[in-house]
């Protein structure tokens, strides 16, 4: 999806890895014996990707669809071609070896699934399921003809059987089988519940390739094998039960020897068709299995998972390759940039942090934080990583994991040190009861002398943790221990922040900001900000950091009315947004982060200078990671994608800054709390002009109105009178200069 905005800007979608429930991450595995190369073709967002199964690399990206790709199928007539269907109402034929679009068929209805049968001589047949009208359409060239009506939108619940003689489809409690030769439909129904309270609704259907047998998966985890279904009355079925939850996908191997099933447990089960009781299991594959595919020669299996992962499994039930995209799931941590790998760090698999390389657009690795066996069971409350903070040099990572609700809250603070020899983060200290209540905020001290962490929690205290060696016994590794416990009138601390040199610590308690000296832990001053509790707190850096010398704390608070999806970029010295982008995506922007660029751009346009040194990445509700790019950059990307693989060797700037998010459940008024001081323009603007303008930072009272949405942007910062005088002094001096 490429949007053209007024400013000649392109909104470039970095990756659209996740599909919602109606669409399906359909994977198709294909083994091409003539060229001895193996490919996996899967729909990913609005493109079709071709992966090599041996190297796990993405070989081609077939782009052209304008909406979600919903299905991929190999052309039975030509094994070098692949069909893909999309919600934009088109079916496209591709040559996936060269990555060329051959044909486009336009249907005009959103296509939810695509099935291809080999035996329908010469001409392929397409079965397009259209949700709003619910007809079932078969297409030859441009003619459509409805085979079945009332079809489930789930593509797994329809299947061609035994060389295309019949088609089976399930919806709710009914299984429909349509025979092409007889042109007749048989319907089989199950009762909604039996005596044991089983849920009988169909979830998926698979047809045996050689035999008259249909396997159906059910909501309660049962698998039924139907036979004799070409008669109305004398049909039979046998029941197998292993899954404890709904069977989400079923698949027969090409010879019909085995049946593969998967569900939310993330266990791939291989049933032997001859010996009913014999089963093979492959557990702990990843997220819930959403789809299973088998290669045409039966040598490889492939499972796609809800967490945006594809496993390629050899038929001897050994995992051979893993293709992992940006892990889908709930994101509790802020988006953080690891300064060592320059990877984006956020929640990954349950209990893990994923390190996602933005340059290479792939997951680097996943760090197991919780280190406990994850039980794939619905409704089970398990530990999740809620907070993650890196120190400036990337040597230390602090994480907080939580489980349970208010009454029986369990949480642990973990500190991970970077091991130079192993080149990985290793667990150093686990603190199980760091606070009485939930930790709201934490930050590392940026100073180079001491390694220090501050945590603020809802129990009204903030604690300072220090890394120290045990002096008595030298054998033990350095570990973290509590150094200081601070509180302020029993108020709940909400945020904490260190100044850039680490000498001052600011902790906000509801409406009050307290400033502490990190040497003596004495309370230096308090600043009050009446209009409401403080949501975010940050010290100025780089060009603004000189104001710390005169003890000014740059606390700005931006409140956004986010009715539509807009992104604002501010410069600390100016009250007006530097850049506004409307309707960047569907849904709300959840989080955003600035990441340093590998090589600075030299854009001459003043409006986009802030993009020269860093990139703004933002995450939408649908777990899409998007980014802005300029026209020239976009062209370059299109020219050669390989260029993105160039490793980043630019020195790390202490530069990333997180823009927090905050949402209120007031109708649609979602207020994004934006922290500025992005410093993205640190070199661009001349120092003298900054000095004159800078006062707006401190006496901020602004009202901005933009057409549809009213942005109320106000921030009061009250300083003590002494500070104010001091400020005036400096100001007058600067003016004299």
């Amino acid at each position: 999806m490429v949007l053209h905005s007024i400013g000649g800007f392109l909104v470039h979608k970095m990756r659209d890895p996740v599909l919602d429930n109606t669409a399906w991450l359909k994977t198709y595995y294909y083994y091409y014996c003539y060229f001895l190369c193996r490919f996996l073709i899967c729909g990913s967002g609005d493109s079709v990707k071709v992966f090599s199964t041996s190297t796990e690399e993405c070989v081609h990206v077939l782009e052209g669809h304008t909406d979600q790709v919903t299905g991929v199928a190999l052309n039975p007539a030509n094994h070098l071609q692949v069909y893909s269907c999309s919600a934009d109402g088109t079916v496209r034929l591709w040559d996936f070896i060269d990555g060329i679009l051959i044909k486009t068929f336009i249907f005009g209805y959103p296509i939810l699934s695509l099935y291809v049968s080999e035996k329908h001589a010469g001409n392929f047949q397409l079965l397009a399921l259209h949700l709003p009208k619910v007809p079932d359409q078969e297409v030859e060239a441009k003619d459509m003809f409805a085979v079945l009506c009332d079809i489930s939108p789930n593509p797994g619940s329809t299947a061609f059987g035994q060389g295309g003689e019949y088609i089976a489809s399930a919806l709710g409690l009914r299984l429909n089988v349509y025979f092409f030769r007889k042109q007749k439909t048989y319907r089989f129904s199950l009762k909604a519940t039996d005596k044991k309270g089983a849920k009988n609704a169909f979830t998926c259907v698979a047809c045996h390739p050689k035999d008259d047998c249909i396997a159906t998966g059910h909501e309660d985890g049962k698998i039924r094998l139907w036979r004799n279904f070409n008669q109305k009355k004398e049909y039979t079925y046998s029941t197998q039960h292993w899954h404890h939850n709904a069977v989400s996908s079923l698949c027969f191997t090409p010879e019909g020897m085995h049946l593969l099933s998967g569900g939310v447990e993330s266990v791939l089960v291989q049933w032997h068709c001859e010996e009913v009781n014999k089963k093979d299991f492959l557990p702990r594959l990843g997220g819930a299995i959403s789809h299973i595919a088998v290669s045409s020669d039966g040598q490889m299996y492939c499972t796609s998972h809800s967490d945006n992962k594809i496993n390629i499994i050899h038929c001897s039930f050994k995992l051979s390759a893993v293709i992992q995209g940006l892990v889908k799931g709930n994101i509790w941590t802020d988006l953080v940039i690891d300064s060592r790998t320059k990877a984006l760090v956020m929640n990954g698999r349950p209990g893990h942090l994923q390190f996602y390389s933005l340059q290479q657009d792939k997951q680097l690795y996943s760090l197991d934080i919780v280190q406990q066996e994850y039980i794939y069971e619905e409704g089970l409350d398990q530990f999740e990583v809620m907070k993650a903070v890196f120190d400036v040099r990337g040597n230390w990572l602090a994480t907080v994991e939580e489980r349970g609700r208010d009454s029986d809250l369990e949480f642990a603070l973990k500190l991970w040190g970077f091991n130079e020899s192993a080149q990985s983060l290793e667990l150093n200290t686990t603190i199980t009861a760091a606070h009485q209540d939930r930790i709201t905020s934490m930050c590392f001290s940026p100073s180079t002398e001491t390694t220090m962490l501050v945590t603020a929690a809802k129990d009204g205290q903030f604690k300072v943790w220090l890394l120290g060696t045990d002096s008595e016994t030298q054998k033990e590794q350095a570990s973290w221990s509590c150094d200081f416990v601070g509180s302020y009138h029993g108020l709940q601390p909400t945020n904490c922040c260190f100044s850039s040199d680490g000498s001052l610590l600011a902790v906000s308690f509801e409406e009050v900001v307290t400033v502490w000296s990190s040497d003596t832990w004495g309370l230096l001053t308090t600043l009050c900000q009446p209009p409401g509790p403080i949501r975010e707190l940050c010290f100025g850096r780089l060009s603004c950091s000189k104001y710390l010398a005169c003890l000014h704390l740059a606390v700005t608070c931006f409140l956004f009315d986010k009715l539509l999806e807009h992104v604002f970029v501010f410069r600390p010295s100016e009250p007006r947004p530097l850049f506004t982008q409307k309707a960047v995506c569907e849904g709300k922007v959840q989080r955003c982060v600035f990441a340093p660029r590998a090589e600075p751009l030299d854009s001459c346009d003043e409006r986009f200078q802030w993009l020269n040194r860093s990139r703004l990445y933002y995450l939408t509700e649908k777990m899409e990671l998007l980014s802005f790019s300029t026209q020239t950059e976009d062209e370059r990307i299109l020219k050669s994608r390989k260029q993105l693989l160039v490793d980043d060797s630019v020195a790390v700037t202490p530069f990333y800054l997180l823009l927090g998010k905050h949402r209120r459940q007031q109708e649609e008024e979602d207020k994004l709390n934006f922290m500025t001081n992005q410093v993205s323009e640190r070199t661009q603007h001349p120092q003298a002009s900054v000095a004159v303008k800078e006062h707006v930072l401190f006496f901020f009272f602004l009202l901005l109105k933009i057409i549809v949405l009213k942005i109320v942007l106000f921030s009061f910062i009250q300083y003590g009178t002494s500070l104010e005088e001091e400020w005036r002094d400096t100001q007058s001096k600067l003016l004299e200069v």
Binding site: L282, N311, Q372, L380, D381, E472, T473
Partner: protein, 517 residues
């Protein structure tokens, strides 16, 4: 495919004092040997020559022991009244002792009859010591005088009556035959120089002095009395170096260990404390009754402590060869395991097929892996594991709770396993490390079994005990909270004073300056 992650067993920080090198050193003694004397043991002294026999003064006897034996090798019993202050000459051949009747006797270590008797003191003599030349004896008495005696002639050489109260402590210099130090109940410590003919230095201890001690360098002097132990620097004219208050009753004795010159003090509060070179307490020995005397043999081989109830407690140092004996006793397991091809070195062109490493899991982990929750709890409650690694049992319970299957695992148990479970709970439920999960388990067990508990008398009794235990614990917690409340009010009452003292500070400082002036 990730492998199964085993149950995480938390390692809890060890409670109590930290293990340091000093504690390891001072713990390296065997269990003490108790020797019963006839009365309170007032003085113990080791002979400076090998085999370092020690002389023990108790009641009307002075006995000489060998470090290894528990029977006295020599016993001097010719005292009509209580004997005091038995001490060796520098060559370990003569012993001198004072007594309650004021007589000082001099013995040969080999003989039984006193060689000399020094008469002159009118009251009890508590302190006797040879000077370093070996020909003179110095004594301190309750008649306030210190006297010098000639061993050869048995006559009094000189007498000083400078103290104004009983003289109860004394030490002779080993480097200079003309110097000795006395401590008295008049709160002073005096340094006498025979050449001057009187005291040359007086230090105010502030409490009745019970013991004085010179460091081998003789630059530092230790005095003990009252609850204080003070260290004085003699080279700086008797300047107080440090004042230690680590005992909560009168400190009666002090001595130095020979390695590193660690200071040891014994007190009526039944403790012996060991100080390091910066005078921090590094180790503590507890004894049954109040301590009157204390001595450490050269090389710290033996530590002898005398107590008020007449018990002499002797500790021998452990040696490494003792341990080795124990090790050699243990049978070596037969080396029947032969690994074929273990020493095979692959050639350059060999294609190496790596063998998959099999993950070794504990029994309970294997059962957890296959979701056998009841069995996993059973194997976590195995006798050995339950007694030696309760944290493992608790970790399995935590894991079951996390999986939401703890109730299933606990239910359906027979009397035997329920008894086992309840006994485990009774033992550990009050342990703060485990109490969170174990309270949850107790709650579930009561929910599950309260209907059927009366059927078994054992289970019912255990339920009763658990109830009582929890009741007691609740009372204790309440009391602790009360104490916490008291402390809070104390701190709260202190806090405003601090604020007031801020502006009020200058006058106080002025006052102190005036005082100093």
């Amino acid at each position: 495919m990730a492998s199964f992650k085993p149950t995480k067993v938390y390692t809890y920080p060890k409670l109590g004092e930290k293990v340091t090198e000093d504690t390891l050193y001072w713990k390296n003694y065997k269990a003490p040997v108790q020797i019963k004397e006839f009365g309170a043991v007032t003085k113990i002294e080791f002979s400076p020559v090998a085999p370092h026999n020690y002389v023990v003064t108790a009641s009307t006897r002075i006995q000489v022991y060998r470090p290894q034996s528990q029977e006295p090798v020599q016993s001097f019993t010719r005292f009509r009244d209580t004997a005091y202050g038995g001490s060796f000459r520098g060559d370990g051949k003569l012993v001198v002792a004072g007594s309650e009747e004021g007589l000082i006797r001099l013995f040969d270590v080999g003989g039984r009859v006193a060689l000399r008797q020094f008469r002159g003191h009118s009251k009890a003599v508590h302190v006797t010591s040879f000077l370093s030349d070996g020909y003179r004896v110095v004594s301190g008495s309750d008649d306030l005088s210190c006297r010098m005696w000639d061993v050869a002639s048995g006559t009094q050489l000189s007498s000083y009556t400078e103290h104004t109260d009983y003289v109860r402590a004394g030490a002779a210099s080993r480097l200079n035959p003309d110097l000795y130090i006395t401590g008295s109940y008049d709160h002073t410590v005096k340094l006498f120089d025979m050449r001057v003919g009187g005291s040359v230095m007086t230090m105010q201890h502030g409490h009745p002095v019970e013991s004085v001690l010179l460091y081998p360098s003789e630059a530092l002097l230790v005095s003990a009395g009252g609850r204080y132990v003070k260290v004085w620097d003699l080279l700086k004219g008797g300047q107080q170096l440090v004042s230690l208050k680590n005992h909560h009753k009168t400190v009666t004795c002090a001595c130095l260990s020979t390695t590193d010159n660690k200071l040891l003090t014994g007190s009526l509060d039944r403790h012996v404390k060991v100080y390091n070179s910066s005078y921090k307490v590094v180790h503590n020995f507890d004894y049954a009754t109040s301590i009157l005397s204390l001595a450490v043999a050269p090389d710290d081989e033996v530590m002898a402590v005398g107590m008020t109830n007449g018990v002499l407690s002797v500790r021998q140092k452990k040696h490494t060869n003792d341990k080795q004996e124990v090790l050699t006793k243990r049978r070596r397991t037969p080396a029947y395991r032969v690994f074929k091809g273990k020493n095979y070195i692959p050639k350059q062109d060999d294609f190496l097929v790596s063998k998959p490493v099999k993950q070794h899991l504990q029994k309970y982990d294997r059962q957890l892996k296959s979701f056998q929750v009841s069995k996993a709890l059973d194997s976590a409650l195995e006798t050995w594991r339950r007694f030696h690694n309760p944290e493992v049992t608790v970790a399995v319970m935590i894991e079951l709770n996390r999986r939401g299957t703890l109730k299933n695992a606990l239910s359906g148990r027979d009397e035997q396993s329920l008894t086992m479970l309840l006994n485990f709970l009774i033992k550990h439920v009050t342990d703060p490390r485990f109490s969170r999960i174990l309270l949850m388990v107790s709650d579930m067990i009561i929910d599950l079994y309260h209907d059927v508990a009366p059927q078994s008398s054992i289970v019912e009794r255990l339920f009763q005990r658990l109830l009582e235990l929890l009741g007691r614990e609740a009372e204790l917690q309440q009391e602790l909270l009360q104490v916490l409340g008291i402390l809070d009010t104390l701190f709260a009452s202190l806090a405003p004073r601090q604020e007031v003292s801020g502006p009020a500070a200058p006058p106080i400082m002025l006052g102190s300056q005036q005082q100093a002036a």
